[in-house]
Amino acid sequence: MTKILIVEDELTLNKALEEFLVEEKFEVFSAFDGEDGIKMAKEKSPDLILLDIILPKKDGFEVLDYLKLDKKTQKIPVVLLTNLESAEDIEKAFNKGATTYLVKANYRLEDIVKKIKETLKCA
C-alpha cells in the first residue's frame, strides 16, 4: 500500500484529507507540526509527503530543508499543500525541492488524489 504522510496543523483539514486518502486505499500518517513531520518522515519512510507551509514549531520551508538534507528522506516527493499563493512562496518552495505546489482552496479532494497519483508516477 502506498504510504502518504500528511503534515497539516488544522485538525479538520488533516482529518478530511486522511479520511479521503484512506477511502482511496492509501496508508496514511498524520503530523500536526513541522518537528513531528520531520520525525514521522524519518520513521515511516512515506512514498509521498503532503506538506503545509504555515505550521507550528517548524514551518513548511524549514521542514523541506531538513527533508532534503537527510539521505533517508531527500528522495521522497513533497507536495506543498497550502493556501499561500505568492510568487515568492511558490519560487521558494521549488527552490527548496518541492515537487508540486497546490493551493488548498482551489482543489477538491479527488483532484488532490489525482495530483498525488501523477506525482508518484513521475517519481
Binding site: 510568487a87 488548498k104 482551489n106
Partner: protein, 328 residues
C-alpha cells in the same frame, strides 16, 4: 508584426494612462490635485515660472544679493513642492504595502476555513452517494458545497484583483491545448446551462496548435465568459463557442442571445467592479470583477480581448492567444 503593433499600442496606452490624472486619482482613491502626476506637473510649472522670474530679475537688477535671494527662493519653493510629492508617493507606497499584507493574510486566514468546509462537504456528498439519504439532506449538503465554492471564487477574484493592481499576478506560459480547455469549461458549465435549458455548442477543428498560455488561468477566463453568457441569456437560448486559427493566433469566440450591453456603457465593460445597468436589474448577484481579471490575464498571455454587443440581442466576446512555438 501583429504582436509588435499590439506591444506598441500597449506602450502608448500606458503613457496616456500615466498622463490621465482622473484615472490616476480613481485608481489611487485620492483627489486629482493629490495625485503624484499632478504634483510633478505643478513642480514643473512652478520651476519654469520661477526660473523665468529669476531671469527677468537678473535682466533688471545687477545686485548679486538680489540674485542670490531670488535663487534661494526658487530652491525653497522646489524643496517644498518636492517634499509634498515625496509625502504623497510615501503614502501611496504605504497603502500598497498594506494591500500586499492584506492579500497575504486574507489568502491564508479566509481560505483555511473555506477549504475545511469544502472538503467536509465533499466527504459528506461522497457518503451520500453510497447510502440512502433523504433528498432534502442531500440538497442541503449540495447547497453548502455550492456556496462554499462561490465564496472561494469570490476570495480568489479579490486576491487576483489585488495582485493585478500590484503587478504581481503570476501567469505561466506553457504549450496548452485550448480545445481541451474549452471542453473542460463546457463540462463545468453544463449543470448551470441545463437548469436554464440553454444549449452549449462548441465548433472547433479536430486539432489546433497549442497556445502559449497558463492552462488554469485560461480555463478561468473561458469559464467566466461562458458563465456570463449563461447567466444573462434567457431560458431556452443557445450559446456557441468557436475556435479558429488566424495566422499566429488562435481566436476564441463565444456568442449568446442574451441581454447584451447598452451602447453608452460598452466602453466601461472591462472596468473593475463595473456591471451595466441592464445586467444589475436582470441579475443582482455579481461583483463586476470577472471581465477585468479576464482582460488582464489574456493581455499578460500576449493576447487581446474584445466584444460586440447589442442590447436585447446578445453579445459575442472574443479573445486571441498566440500559438506556442515550443514543441509540446
Amino acid at each position: 508584426m501583429d504582436q509588435k503593433r499590439q506591444k506598441l499600442k500597449k506602450k502608448n496606452m500606458q503613457v496616456i494612462n500615466d498622463l490621465n490624472l482622473k484615472k490616476q486619482a480613481r485608481d489611487l482613491g485620492v483627489k486629482v490635485w493629490q495625485t503624484p502626476g499632478f504634483m510633478f506637473i505643478m513642480l514643473g510649472v512652478i520651476a519654469i515660472v520661477i526660473m523665468s522670474a529669476v531671469f527677468l530679475i537678473s535682466q533688471n537688477y545687477d545686485d548679486p544679493e538680489i540674485l542670490v535671494l531670488a535663487e534661494s527662493f526658487v530652491v525653497i519653493v522646489i524643496l517644498i513642492v518636492g517634499n509634498s510629492v515625496i509625502s504623497m508617493v510615501t503614502q501611496v507606497t504605504k497603502l500598497n504595502r498594506m494591500k500586499s499584507e492584506f492579500v497575504s493574510v486574507a489568502s491564508h486566514q479566509l481560505r483555511t476555513p473555506l477549504s475545511a468546509i469544502k472538503w467536509e462537504t465533499e466527504l459528506l456528498l461522497s457518503k451520500c452517494r453510497r447510502r440512502v439519504v433523504g433528498d432534502k439532506q442531500r440538497q442541503s449538503i449540495e447547497n453548502i458545497n455550492t456556496l462554499s465554492i462561490k465564496m472561494t471564487h469570490l476570495i480568489n477574484d479579490l486576491l487576483d484583483v489585488a495582485r493585478i493592481d500590484q503587478h504581481r499576478l503570476i501567469i505561466k506560459k506553457i504549450p496548452t491545448d485550448i480545445i481541451a480547455v474549452a471542453k473542460d469549461s463546457i463540462k463545468e458549465a453544463q449543470s448551470l446551462a441545463k437548469k436554464r435549458h440553454i444549449e452549449l455548442a462548441l465548433s472547433a477543428p479536430r486539432k489546433l496548435p497549442a497556445v502559449l498560455a497558463d492552462p488554469e488561468k485560461l480555463q478561468m477566463v473561458v469559464e467566466n465568459l461562458l458563465n456570463n453568457s449563461i447567466k444573462y441569456t434567457t431560458n431556452h437560448g443557445k450559446i456557441e463557442l468557436k475556435l479558429t486559427k488566424k495566422d499566429a493566433l488562435i481566436i476564441f469566440n463565444i456568442k449568446d442571445s442574451g441581454v447584451g450591453i447598452p451602447a453608452e456603457q460598452q466602453n466601461r465593460i472591462f472596468d473593475k467592479f463595473f456591471r451595466s445597468d441592464n445586467i444589475v436589474k436582470y441579475q443582482t448577484e455579481g461583483t463586476g470583477l470577472g471581465l477585468y481579471i479576464a482582460k488582464n490575464i489574456i493581455e499578460q498571455m500576449g493576447g487581446r480581448i474584445w466584444f460586440e454587443s447589442v442590447e436585447n440581442l446578445g453579445s459575442i466576446f472574443s479573445f486571441s492567444i498566440p500559438i506556442s512555438k515550443q514543441k509540446e
